[in-house]
């Protein structure tokens, strides 16, 4: 007995290997309960839940609110023509800016621009990032090498400068802005998706799907995309505030949205000119912007904690 076999030793109590079909189903079930667990954990996270509610309320106010504000964002109140404190009689609930435009209406309009840019630019980044990342990860080989080398090169370029050049060259066009921002933000997304795809590619249920004769496209759609989704949702939630920040930065420098349209960044720039007399014109849009960024970040962190099984 003491000369028990030293080689050919296999691990002790192995479970028998279930068939591929069962594994496929197991993966689905696992997927569902993973989402349920994640949702429960997210609900338990107070900061994240409060952030989500604040964001929904803020977005709602920005898009629906203007209907209830007596002034539009571009309308100049010719009776005033200067910055004034809040006045309910004239309907300037938060006062006016230095040109006599309604501050509340402008902040709401600025919020619309921020939310829209945040969502549209992130969608652009998402589509490109997922397409490139999943393709690179799944195809591997030359394609992968080429795409990732390209991403590396793009990383080494200060793209902010190019966004600004683009904005200058093609005029400060709203659509161009979110396209340009989206084109910058997809890089990280593609890396994350590629990494996820690589780890998933070799998991059993993908092997099983491949063995049972699924086409590459259907494997990507049915198995890879849903599994990558968790990470992507987290990253999207964290990209939106970055994009909003970027837009505000451009607008602050006068390179973003053009008057009379406005955005929180542009309002902050205007406010900074007036702050000596009316700090309100600086502080109110700044608070809105910071709150939004804060909430997106907390929500993103919360989602990450909820979806990352490592951090139980």
């Amino acid at each position: 007995m003491s000369d028990a076999p030293m080689n050919e030793r296999r691990s002790g109590a192995n479970l028998s290997v279930p068939n591929a079909d069962a594994l496929d189903k197991a993966a689905d079930v696992e997927g569902r309960s993973l989402w349920q667990d994640a949702f429960r954990r997210l609900q338990a996270n107070r900061a994240a839940m409060i952030s989500a509610i604040v964001l929904i309320v803020l977005a709602f106010i920005c898009f629906v609110g203007p209907a209830f504000v007596p002034w539009s964002y571009e309308e100049i109140d010719w009776d005033i023509l200067e910055a004034t404190p809040p006045n309910f009689e004239t309907g300037h609930y938060l006062g006016t800016d230095s040109l006599g435009r309604d501050l509340l209406a402008r902040i709401l309009q600025g919020g619309q621009v921020s939310f829209l840019v945040g969502i549209l630019a992130t969608s652009v980044a998402l589509v490109i990032g997922v397409a490139v990342g999943a393709t690179a990860g799944f195809m591997g080989g030359r394609v992968d090498q080429f795409l990732m080398r390209f991403v590396d090169v793009m990383y080494a370029v200060p793209l902010m400068f190019f966004i600004i050049i683009l904005m200058v060259v093609f005029g400060r066009n709203f659509y161009l802005m979110f396209l340009a921002i989206g084109f910058v933000e997809w890089l990280t997304m593609s890396r994350i998706v590629r990494g996820q795809t690589l780890t998933l590619k070799n998991k059993e249920f993908i092997e099983a799907a491949r063995a049972s004769g699924g086409s590459t496209a259907s494997i990507i759609l049915r198995h890879i995309v849903p599994n990558v989704l968790g990470v992507v949702i987290v990253y999207v939630t964290l990209t939106i505030p970055q994009v909003i920040l970027l837009e505000s930065f451009l607008s602050f420098l006068g390179l973003g949205v053009q008057p009379p349209m406005t955005s929180w960044g542009a309002l902050i720039a205007e406010g900074a000119q007036e702050m000596e007399i009316t700090p309100r014109t600086l502080i109110l849009p700044a608070v809105c912007l910071s709150t939004t960024l804060f909430c997106f970040n907390f929500l993103g962190d919360g989602l990450r904690d909820a979806l990352d099984p490592k951090d139980r």
Partner: protein
């Protein structure tokens, strides 16, 4: 290792060339030129101006001419600052920006790493949550908000007290003039570094080799400093690449707010005025800096992780 860096340098050249080429043709695609003004100039003056700057030549000629001059360190004349060449402007502006950036980087490391370390060691306690909420605030309150606010507080509200600080101008780099811009640039940076340090140290503390070090009976301080810290710094070093970009864009904001004669402000002014050569010059400089810093980061890796050293 040297072969590796040579290879990196060789890759850097085409990257830079792509940057130059794309920027050059993008700028030239722009409708309207640098001499467009509200009242149009008489045609013959316009033609003279264009000839003086070589803009009447074919595009390809301008391109190769530009490349040729670039190789000799000549970025061409500025279109708007008529008496200066871009090289001169950059020569004046670059030191200002680099000094502010380096000071901000230094402050950020000095405060960010200890803050993140402390948070990691007290993970999930009140102190940790407080530190990370403050850090998050530093990130979500952008420096174009902090800048005006600081200017409001120190330049206006505290104007007549001992805390008053200059809020505009460079004054040849006088110390008080640097304080607010550097703080403004450093704040979000401290926050990022603290967050990265915290996350990475927590990760490192979970590694098997930290467990081994503890199993050896080493005091906790020694476990952290000798076994955990070096690896935990890898993501922080990695962040220095993006941080350079961050400092460059940050310099656009603070130099605009505080009226500093740095390359960030030149770039913004250049972009608003369609000062092609100035914008190109700063872009090329920025790209070279990012490439250079990434190279430095790689060298630091080799020191932090012996595996890299031998590959």
């Amino acid at each position: 290792m040297w072969a590796y860096f040579t290879r990196r340098l060789i890759i850097a050249i085409p990257t830079l060339w792509v940057v130059i080429t794309v920027a050059f043709f993008l700028m030239r695609l722009a409708p309207g030129g640098p001499f467009d003004q509200e009242a149009p100039l008489p045609p013959e003056i316009m033609a003279n101006l264009k000839a003086a700057y070589g803009l009447d030549q074919p595009l390809w000629w301008q391109y190769f001419n530009y490349l040729g001059n670039l190789l000799q360190g000549d970025f061409g004349p500025s279109f708007k600052y008529k008496d200066f060449s871009v090289t001169e402007l950059i020569g004046q502006g670059f030191p200002v920006s680099i000094q502010n950036g380096a000071a901000a980087l230094f402050i950020a490391i000095l405060f960010g790493i200890p803050l993140g370390t402390m948070a990691a060691l007290r993970q999930n306690t009140g102190a940790d949550h407080a530190a990370m909420t403050v850090a998050m605030t530093g990130i979500v309150v952008p420096n174009f908000v902090v800048g005006p606010l600081l200017a409001l507080i120190f330049g206006i509200y505290l104007r007549d007290t001992m805390f008053a600080l200059p809020v505009a101008g460079w004054n040849n780099g006088a110390f008080p003039n640097r304080i607010l811009p550097v703080i403004c640039l450093a704040l979000p940076f401290i926050a990022y570094i603290a967050r990265i340090t915290r996350a990475s140290l927590i990760e490192t503390l979970r590694t098997n080799y930290v467990r081994t070090a503890r199993a050896k009976g080493l005091p906790f301080r020694m476990v952290i400093l000798r076994h955990a810290f070096k690896s935990a710094m890898i993501p922080v070093v990695t962040y220095l690449g993006p941080a350079t970009v961050f400092l460059l864009t940050g310099s656009m904001v603070i130099e605009t707010i505080f009226g500093l004669p740095g390359i960030g402000r030149y770039f913004v002014q250049g972009a608003l005025n369609r000062d092609y050569t100035l914008v190109m010059g700063v872009t090329i400089l920025a790209a070279s800096m990012v490439i250079f810093i990434n190279l430095l980061v790689d060298m630091t890796y080799a020191w932090l992780d012996p595996k890299v050293r031998y590959e």
